[in-house]
């Protein structure tokens, strides 16, 4: 493991609060994999290991009135927006206090200004409608939709981009390009480029390769302001790495490829970082103990019609 002399805050251009959040997400996700291994979780859960910095970098750039659409890999998005690991863990484990009574689970979370869905591409047209609403009622607010590189396989993405561009809607598409979709590398699922796909609709595209939060924020500030004030759509593409499996135990990539991925977590190890790391690990452990001791959720209103 290569360690530099820089501190984590320097290396990541991060405030202490940023680091805390990134570490919270990291330990939250690790903890989920542990719970899975221990047979405490059912279904599927997609961790955002290696992609924690994306929602954390975006955090101060987003406003309360913005509406965030998350996807299957959404724990980081949720924690960055609400900082509520207990509510999310309760949701994933179906325990009392769950954000959505355990009904939605890992992939279907709704909270004020935030929604995730488990079907790829489905959220973008919905985000268009939401952006249309915002553009009328809340000028300056954005609909923000996180999608992966693989999700560009879905036609819904293009239908939505076309609408957003035609109607000049305040839609920010955050592409977390980790170069893989489940088991399929981008070269087998994505012809051309994300930049080209945005350009196809006359939509601005910003590429982010950094993990340095300060630089990311500096880069994204002006285009996000433009998207708000235009208003108009914007695609921001983060080049990133998926450190863990797609879901649980289903990583068939060669170990060397996984090992070669960049991990901010191993890049710095100053004392402050270590202390924060320990603290967040313990925070998550304590929350887990507490949440796992709660009874199951109740789902009082099941009506659907």
């Amino acid at each position: 493991m290569t360690r530099t002399a820089e501190t984590a805050t320097e290396l990541l251009g991060a405030e202490v609060a940023d680091l805390e959040l990134m570490l919270l997400i990291r330990h939250f996700e690790w903890n989920l994999l542990d719970l899975f291994a221990a047979g405490e979780l059912s279904g599927t859960t997609h961790t955002c290991l290696g992609q924690e910095h994306i929602p954390v970098a975006l955090r101060p750039l987003l406003r309360e009135q913005d509406f965030v659409f998350s996807n299957h890999r959404g724990h980081g998005h949720y924690l960055a927006r609400f900082g509520d690991p207990a509510g999310l863990l309760a949701e994933i484990t179906g325990r009392r206090g769950a954000v959505c009574e355990g009904v939605g689970g890992s992939q279907h979370v709704l909270r004020e200004g935030y929604l995730s869905t488990g079907i790829q591409g489905e959220s973008l047209p919905v985000a268009v409608g939401l952006a249309l609403h915002l553009s009328r009622t809340t000028p300056g607010a954005l609909a923000v939709a996180h999608i992966g590189d693989g999700t560009w396989g879905e036609g819904a993405v293009y239908e939505a981009l076309n609408l957003a561009a035609l109607w000049r809607l305040p839609l920010l598409v955050v592409v977390e390009n980790n170069g893989i979709a489940q088991s399929t590398p981008a070269k087998a699922h994505l012809a051309g480029s994300v930049a080209g796909r945005a350009a196809a609709f006359g939509i601005d595209h910003v590429l982010v390769t950094a993990t340095h939060l300060g630089r990311i924020r500096d880069t994204l500030g002006p285009p996000l302001d433009a998207a708000r004030s235009g208003p108009g759509p914007l695609v921001v593409e983060f080049m990133t790495d998926r450190l863990g499996p797609h879901s649980k135990g289903d990583d068939t990539r060669p170990p060397a490829e996984i090992a070669a991925a960049y991990d901010w977590y191993t890049a710095a190890a100053d004392d402050q970082f270590r202390a924060l790391d320990r603290r967040q690990r313990e925070t998550v452990a304590a929350i887990t103990r507490e949440v796992m001791s709660r009874p199951g959720t109740l789902w009082p209103d099941r009506s659907c019609r």
């Binding site: 509406f67 769950a98 954000v99 959505c100 009574e101 355990g102 009904v103 939605g104 279907h108 979370v109 709704l110 929604l115 869905t117 079907i119 489905e122 973008l124 047209p125 919905v126 985000a127 268009v128 409608g129 939401l130 952006a131 249309l132 609403h133 915002l134 009328r136 009622t137 609909a143 036609g155 819904a156 239908e159 939505a160 076309n162 609408l163 035609l166 109607w167 959720t297 789902w299 209103d301 099941r302 009506s303 659907c304 019609r305």
Partner: protein, 340 residues
């Protein structure tokens, strides 16, 4: 102008158009999206005439993107607005299947609490106009029994403003089917042989009985444009076979509230459900199941389904007639049922 204030001689398309005008004028949160709906074109069937002129920012003509416009409608609904989305031909609703079934309808309850979704998807449906195999379908069957979704069908006997307001008020998505052959038909007009009343209140069901004919041999359930075929069949059977039928025309197909219909249906020895859908897995089969369960002891025989053939719908009118449900098919079904 509200639909209910129109002279009864207005055509269904005018009543629908007036209903949309009224709904958009009365509530600033209502949006309408659809392909080619803007003026001066006013929609493929002219249902949306004048709306984009009256409400330019809330009535938007869209690219050819059925999936995305339903999704956008769902997004508006999620944000607290109300959205009406026009699918140009009902067959194309297949392209929005995921948005309807997996997002809009599921969102009402999949987040653990009730999420109001005011969304109505309007689908012109049905054949008989020679539009061919991809423009003539009755897609109702695909949507029966979707949690979080209701199905309505317009008819000449239901004011569309009331129907639209009802569908928009539910807090969950609804599909409104509109039989294309009805558009040019006059509202409320019908063969004077029949007396028309209403059953139920929230979701009124029109009831047409033969004036002075006494208790019916068979009750025919028929929605939308099929109601006229049922009435024609009833007339013909009265004159030729001395079979007395009465016709029920529900406005809400699913879930179907049997309660207000039970006095009528429970008194019937025979029931026929007539629909234009092609055979198999139809709305009628669902209704039949409800009826068999509720009325096992009063029914003299199984509920009879009358529907189109198990076939695609051909373009040539002479072939189309052979495939699609005709009044004569209803006559045959009722004759068989009542004589068995």
């Amino acid at each position: 102008m509200a639909g209910s204030e129109l002279p009864v001689s207005a055509r269904v398309v005018e009543n629908l158009n007036a209903a949309l005008h009224a709904v958009l004028a009365a509530d600033e949160s209502v949006h309408l999206l659809g392909e080619d709906i803007a003026d001066p074109y006013g929609g493929a069937f002219k249902v949306t005439r004048g709306l984009s002129t009256a409400h330019p920012s809330r009535v938007r003509t869209t690219p050819i993107s059925e999936g995305a416009i339903v999704g956008a409608g769902a997004g508006l609904a999620l944000a607290g607005d109300k959205a009406i989305v026009e699918i140009m031909f009902g067959d194309f609703v297949a392209l929005a299947f995921d948005q309807i079934v997996n997002f809009a309808a599921k969102s009402v309850s999949m987040y653990g609490r009730r999420v109001p979704m005011h969304l109505v998807i309007r689908c012109p449906v049905g054949g008989g106009r020679g539009y061919g195999p991809t423009h003539s379908g009755s897609p109702h069957k695909h949507f029966v029994g979707v949690p979080g979704l209701s199905l309505f069908e317009t008819s000449a006997f239901h004011d569309n403003r009331a129907l639209l307001e009802r569908a928009l008020s539910l807090g969950h998505p609804a599909i409104l089917f509109e039989d294309k052959v009805l558009y040019s038909r006059r509202m409320f007009a019908h063969d004077a042989l029949f007396l028309r009343t209403t059953l139920g209140t929230d979701d009124p069901c029109a009831r047409l009985v033969i004036d002075g004919a006494g208790p019916p041999d068979c009750v025919i359930l028929a929605s939308g444009g099929v109601a006229d075929r049922a009435l024609a069949a009833a007339r013909s059977m009265l004159l030729t076979d001395e079979i007395v039928c009465e016709v029920l025309v529900p406005s809400r197909l699913y879930p179907l509230d049997l309660e207000p219909l039970l006095p009528v249906l429970g008194a019937a020895r025979h029931i026929c459900v007539a629909e234009e859908s092609t055979a198999g897995g139809t709305w009628g089969a669902e209704v039949a199941h409800l009826l068999h369960t509720a009325l096992w002891h009063s029914l003299a025989g199984p509920v009879r389904l009358a529907h189109s053939a198990d076939s695609i719908i051909p373009a040539a009118p002479h072939l189309e007639r052979e495939v699609l449900l005709q009044d004569t098919d209803i006559v045959q079904a009722v004759r068989e049922a009542t004589s068995a």
